[in-house]
């Protein structure tokens, strides 16, 4: 369930009667998650006799979440609450990009390249980054991790790009 709803522009769209937009949208998102789970577990076997099937518990929890989400959303209608907080794009974007880059590059390029590059990509997430400093620290961290994980901790992982080794 990696579908993260992004609610940034919703603020202006929401009608007048929503008094607590934060709760309202939050509750609706939970309802959506619950509906998704109900759909995803719909092919599983339910109760047979008095014993649980594979799908019983997931559906039970999904229904519970559905009700709770609806209740949270209802609170957003009935009670005054905070507006939806502002989202920034820079941090989430570059931190996620660094993570995804690392995941994609670790197998083909090895730890040294992917860790160093991921460090620099993540560093883009802040406008206060000073590049000389970041490159030095990134290099030190990469060396540290390259020693720590495979040698000290004995966890096997590729070190250098595949094409260089062969």
């Amino acid at each position: 369930m990696s579908d993260t709803p992004s609610e940034a522009p919703v603020k202006s769209i929401l009608p007048e009667w929503v008094r607590g937009p934060q709760d309202f949208v939050g509750g609706l998102a939970m309802v959506a998650v619950a509906l998704f789970a109900l759909w995803a577990s719909s092919d599983l076997q339910g109760m047979h006799g008095f014993s649980f099937g594979a799908g019983t518990a997931p559906r039970m929890f999904a229904v519970l979440l559905l009700l709770l989400g609806a209740a949270v959303a209802l609170m957003g209608v009935l009670k005054d609450g905070p507006a939806i907080a502002a989202y920034s794009w820079r941090g989430p974007l570059f931190v996620s990009a660094a993570i995804v880059f690392f995941a994609v590059s670790i197998r083909p390029f090895g730890l040294v390249v992917s860790a160093f590059a991921a460090f620099l990509i993540a560093a883009l997430g802040s406008h206060e980054t000073k590049w000389v400093e970041a490159i030095i620290v990134g290099a030190c961290l990469t060396i540290g991790c390259a020693l720590l994980f495979p040698y000290v901790l004995g966890l096997p992982m590729p070190m250098f790009p595949r094409f260089l080794i062969q």
Partner: protein
């Protein structure tokens, strides 16, 4: 009595060189995270989970435990010296501690915090040792129905004691329960909500979700405020560590009360160190002859919460070790650590793994001693660490976490999933949903399902088994009562009041 034999055995285990080293590393790392704001205990324990793979189980758990209580020490140091609580548990310490520092009494404040923590740590260690065996016996009398009801009670406790909306906290627990359903069904082996992704067949990794929701989400959130957090480093000379006789006389009862309160709140599910420190501070303020002194450098305001958070950090191991039920998110991660090493948490651990349990208990005492040594003389070094700017820290944490998650299963998909949970966590924080109950729900999910199924199977589908068995009925009644109380306006007001201090 077995107790002393057990403890002696524990000390033999804990004093082996490797375990001493692990204990020291745990205490050091704990202090480090405690000192550094922007990186929490939960994220650190999650981050270091994969590292413990190569270690023997006893050493691994000793180290992870050390991080948890070590962070309570470290957090107080920066609270007092620079008014930056490194940990949520030290927020209240900053109120009076920093005032004391401004009045040139940083030394006594630090000393009292350390003494209080050490005392509380010692008491909690003994408490774990004493309560361990009888609680385990009780746990063995539990059937599936009782277990299920106990977990319901635990989750309700977590909700009642948590900050913010009760409804939203319950929703987060259920979200966690739902997430725990992903993967293979234990009984039938059917694949549930895995969408034929092979990496999901075993379920969502616990470390993956924890690292995403607590590690990555926290970083992204911190970046919102700009990387340079306001850190006015008042590097005062710390003169005279020794508290005066009056300081000691004032703080002794506060330390005692804080220890008792912290110990109790630590055992209760959902409690843990944060709530303990808040509650202890509130209690001192209520009991004080002159409550106005609080917030202006009252030494009780340092002594009580620091004792309480340390006591609670340690006693929260009791339900984990005896019942196999984690009372808070850090303990939930400890369950993960135990599972990684093939240990199933529960009452049988005490009997089957005496080395582990008693070694860990003994190591806590040793760890506390180490912490007092690490913290007081080295205060200057820890404070200098605050100079490490966040703009360099956050990419390092991102990379370290990514490597850590990858190393768990050598699966790139896990890294991507953690990133996705980072975004989900960020969204949750933005909508004022607390991620801690989610984690607790996720850990308890499979346990709850299993016990629910078994209870119903034994009762041949009769749901009344939960109320017809007396023990289970009592547990459920307490849970229901608590929930009602939590929603009632009078208690709500009190509960919110406890948290208001942090805004000061």
């Amino acid at each position: 009595m077995d107790l002393f034999a057990n403890l002696a055995h524990g000390f033999v285990v804990a004093f082996s060189p490797i375990n001493l080293l692990m204990c020291l590393i745990g205490a050091l790392v704990g202090t480090l995270v405690g000192v550094l704001p922007g990186i929490g205990t939960i994220a650190t324990v999650a981050m270091l989970l994969p590292i413990t793979f190569g270690l023997p189980p006893v050493g691994a758990l000793i180290m992870l435990a050390g991080i948890y209580y070590g962070a309570q020490y470290g957090g107080s140091t920066t609270s007092i010296l620079v008014n930056i609580p490194g940990e949520a548990t030290s927020v209240v310490t900053a109120l009076d501690g920093h005032q004391m520092a401004k009045q040139g009494r940083a030394g006594p404040a630090l000393a009292i915090a350390a003494i209080g923590s050490f005392f509380a740590g010692c008491v909690a260690t003994v408490l774990i040792a004493v309560l361990g065996a009888p609680l385990t016996k009780l746990a063995l009398a539990f059937g599936p129905a009782e277990y299920f009801s106990l977990m319901v009670l635990g989750l309700i406790f977590a909700v009642v004691l948590a900050k913010g909306s009760v409804l939203k906290a319950v929703a987060m627990i259920v979200f966690g329960l739902l997430l725990s359903m992903v993967g293979s069904d234990i009984e039938t082996g059917a694949s549930r909500m895995a969408f034929n992704i092979p990496e999901l067949a075993d379920g969502l990794g616990f470390a993956t979700v924890a690292m995403g929701v607590f590690g990555f989400a926290e970083i992204i959130r911190n970046l919102d405020h700009g990387a340079e957090m306001d850190r006015n480093l008042v590097q005062q000379k710390i003169t005279g560590l020794m508290p005066t006789r009056k300081d000691l006389a004032d703080s002794t009862p506060a330390i005692l009360r804080g220890t008792v309160l912290g110990s109790i709140l630590g055992i209760l599910p959902g409690g843990g160190a944060v709530i303990a420190s808040f509650a202890a501070y509130t209690l001192e303020k209520k009991l004080a002859k002159d409550p106005k002194r609080f917030g202006r450098g009252a030494i009780e305001g340092v002594a009580a919460p620091e004792s309480a958070n340390n006591a609670a950090a340690q006693t929260s191991f009791i339900p984990l070790l005896t019942l196999g039920i984690p009372p808070n998110a850090v303990m939930a991660l400890m369950v993960g650590a135990m599972t990684i090493h093939g240990i199933v948490p529960g009452p049988q651990v005490m009997q089957k793994q005496p080395d582990l349990v008693w070694g860990m208990i003994a190591s806590m005492w040793i760890g506390n001693l180490m912490l007092i040594i690490i913290n007081l003389p080295l205060v200057g070094i820890w404070v200098r660490l605050l100079r490490v700017p966040y703009r360099l820290m956050f990419p390092s944490i991102v990379v370290f976490c990514a490597i850590g998650i990858y190393s768990v299963n050598n699966a790139p998909v896990d890294v991507v999933l953690a990133g996705a949970f980072g975004l989900i966590g960020y969204w949750l924080i933005k909508h004022d949903f607390e991620p801690a109950p989610l984690l607790l729900g996720m850990v308890l999910g499979p346990l709850m399902e299993e016990n629910l199924r078994r209870a119903l199977l034994i009762s041949r589908g009769d749901w009344s088994v939960f109320v017809s068995r007396p023990l289970s009925a009592v547990l459920l009644a307490i849970a229901a009562g608590l929930l009602v109380l939590a929603v009632l306006p009078t208690l709500r007001a009190k509960r919110d009041e406890v948290f208001v201090e942090s805004e000061g």
